[in-house]
């Protein structure tokens, strides 16, 4: 693929002269209304917690101490490594990964299918994918819960056609959470993928087929590398928000175990009322995600560099 004109991530410089002007709006808006509030949160994570929410303006590492060190139920044992929150992080990462894979498995073929429809139908398909999202996420998730419950329509239908003998226990399982996350974020996979595949030059597939590449080889060795930017964008848009999601885990998973989202939620809206800790957990999450994304972005730029 090296030297191929459709190699992923083509960086040009035809707009380099006006780069600063083009970036100014996003810098302004995001520095002021996103970065500045996050600096507030970063500061909060190093402050003393106020009982029942709020912060006291004196420096403290208490929040990070709570995250990494286990001092026993009464806080007076010698510190050990705290596994509680690491476990919660790993669980969330696993659930988000599974949801991303599910979205990819269904989303890629769907995006590909839409991109190969006649031009006149494509926009309608895009709308068709996003229409369900006009209904609020809470309502959609509650309906999903209704569908997959033990004696719900899905189980009844499967029983009726004889595919299963006893109802599938779906509700309140990890799989239900993954299904909920998948359902919450599916269009966020399909649309970026579509935008990339639609640009794909199908003569490349023909050329590959002429060289006796199988369909599978055409798909994985030619199509997928060409649409990699869309693939990456879709995965980011599903994986990252899934990490902090709490509605699907709460309603479909039964909220028996904290996820990162519900853990943080509890610090601000729940009984714990520990703002510095909530801020610290968010900062740790932000750092991890940011590092992963930057490493990915770096490696992509390098790809491009070698291809050019």
């Amino acid at each position: 693929m090296a030297g191929g004109v459709t190699s992923s991530g083509v960086v040009g410089d035809s707009f380099a002269a006006v780069r600063t002007r083009l970036l100014a709006p996003s810098w302004l808006v995001l520095l002021f209304f996103m970065f500045a509030p996050m600096v507030v949160m970063l500061i909060y994570s190093f402050l003393t917690k106020e009982f029942r929410g709020g912060v006291i303006w004196s420096f403290s590492l208490g929040a990070y101490d709570q995250f990494f060190l286990d001092r026993g139920l009464f806080g007076d044992e010698p510190p050990k490594i705290e596994w509680t929150y690491i476990t919660i992080f790993l669980r969330s990462i696993w659930q988000a990964l599974a949801a991303t894979v599910l979205c990819l498995l269904i989303g890629f073929p769907t995006a590909y299918f839409i991109a190969t429809r006649p031009v006149s139908q494509r926009t309608a398909w895009l709308f068709l994918i996003t229409v369900p999202y006009w209904v609020n996420l809470l309502i959609r998730t509650v309906s999903m819960k209704f569908l997959i419950r033990d004696n719900g329509p899905l189980n009844e239908a499967l029983l009726a056609i004889g595919l299963i003998d006893s109802p599938l226990a779906l509700i309140n399982t990890d799989f239900a959470v993954q299904l909920g996350l998948f359902y919450s974020y599916l269009p966020f996979m399909v649309l970026p993928l579509y935008a990339s595949i639609e640009r794909y030059d199908f003569t490349l597939s023909e050329a590959a087929a002429d060289l006796y590449a199988s369909r599978r080889a055409v798909l994985f060795r030619v199509v997928v590398p060409s649409v990699k930017p869309g693939l990456v964008a879709g995965c980011i848009l599903v994986f990252v928000p899934s990490l902090g999601a709490f509605l699907a885990p709460d309603l479909l998973g039964g909220a028996k175990n904290f996820m990162i989202g519900s853990l943080i939620e509890e610090q601000f809206k729940g009984n714990a009322g520990n703002w510095p800790f909530g801020a610290a957990v968010s900062m740790i999450l932000l750092t991890i995600v940011m590092l992963v994304l930057l490493v990915m972005a770096r490696s992509r730029t390098r790809d491009v560099g070698s291809a050019a």
């Binding site: 035809s14 083009l22 709006p25 209304f33 996103m34 935008a195 597939s205 930017p229």
Partner: protein, 272 residues
């Protein structure tokens, strides 16, 4: 020609697309069916009734629902449009601006709103707004929405742009097109599917937002999600299902219109 068609076709993909639609629409079927439920329940069927629709239009809360729907749709439209403009401009700089030192930092900044859980953004933004004296109301909701819509618009647009070879704009500039003309007549037409995808994602994410909106809105300004979250001590009533079905109706009308327009459009295109 027939073989080209053959190569494009991937067996089973059509089936999976149908599965995708099924997954997306089955839960909505539940919503639609229970919006006609005579009973107040959303799990037990009590007979057919239009009472919840009457409630939406003529009930005591109908003014609230109407203004909430209006606020939600206008905020989503303005926020998604603004975010798409900002994101498009940023994407061109990031993908066509050569390499520059703050590239990675800018990418981090643009994707920041999706990395931070909503509740944190909500509290932080409220603290920030009140410390700079930003009056809470329609405007504060709008600003917050534009901010968190940006990454959802940016990612599809920039990935699309990465798939467009830079020799197109180079060729245009060789032909003495200025940057605006290059963008307007060369890049934009090729970028459109990405822009549309980005806009649609930004639109639905704004339409859906509850947590941030609930924190940064002023008293008396409702959006649909904040008007809908009546679930806490009362349980979800079928009137919410009716409201959702009505919204679906509106969006389906838009789909039909776009499909019809698209068909007319392509009919003229196919001439050449």
């Amino acid at each position: 020609m027939s073989r080209a068609h053959d190569v494009r076709h991937m067996p089973g993909f059509g089936f999976l697309a149908v599965v995708c639609l099924l997954v997306l629409y089955l839960p909505l079927l539940v919503v639609m069916v229970y919006s006609f439920n005579e009973s107040r329940s959303i799990t037990l069927w009590g007979g057919f009734s239009l009472r919840w629709y009457a409630e939406i239009f003529y009930g005591p809360e109908s003014p609230k629902f109407k203004t909430a729907a209006w606020n939600s749709l206008t905020i989503a439209l303005i926020a998604a449009t603004s975010a798409t403009l900002i994101a498009t401009s940023a994407a061109i700089a990031m993908v066509r601006g050569g390499s520059f030192r703050l590239r990675s930092a800018t990418f981090g900044l643009i994707t920041m709103p999706i990395m931070v859980p909503e509740i944190v953004t909500a509290v932080a933004t409220l603290v920030f707004f009140s410390s700079i004296g930003f009056v809470l109301g329609y405007a504060s909701i709008l600003v917050a929405h534009i901010v968190f819509c940006i990454p959802f618009a940016y990612l599809p647009i920039s990935s699309r742009l990465q798939g467009i070879e830079s020799h197109y704009d180079e060729a245009a500039q060789d032909l003495y097109a200025n940057r605006w003309q290059t963008f307007r007549y060369v890049l934009l037409p090729m970028l459109l599917p990405g822009v549309l995808s980005g806009f649609l994602l930004a639109f639905i994410i704004s339409l859906d937002d509850f947590i941030i909106t609930n924190f940064v809105k002023g008293a008396g300004v409702e959006t649909l999600p904040t008007a809908i979250f009546g679930a806490v001590k009362q349980g979800i009533k079928p009137d919410i299902m009716a409201l959702s079905t009505l919204l679906l109706g509106v969006s389906v009308l838009l789909v039909t219109a776009s499909w019809w327009l698209g068909r007319k459009d392509s009919a003229t295109h196919d001439q050449h």
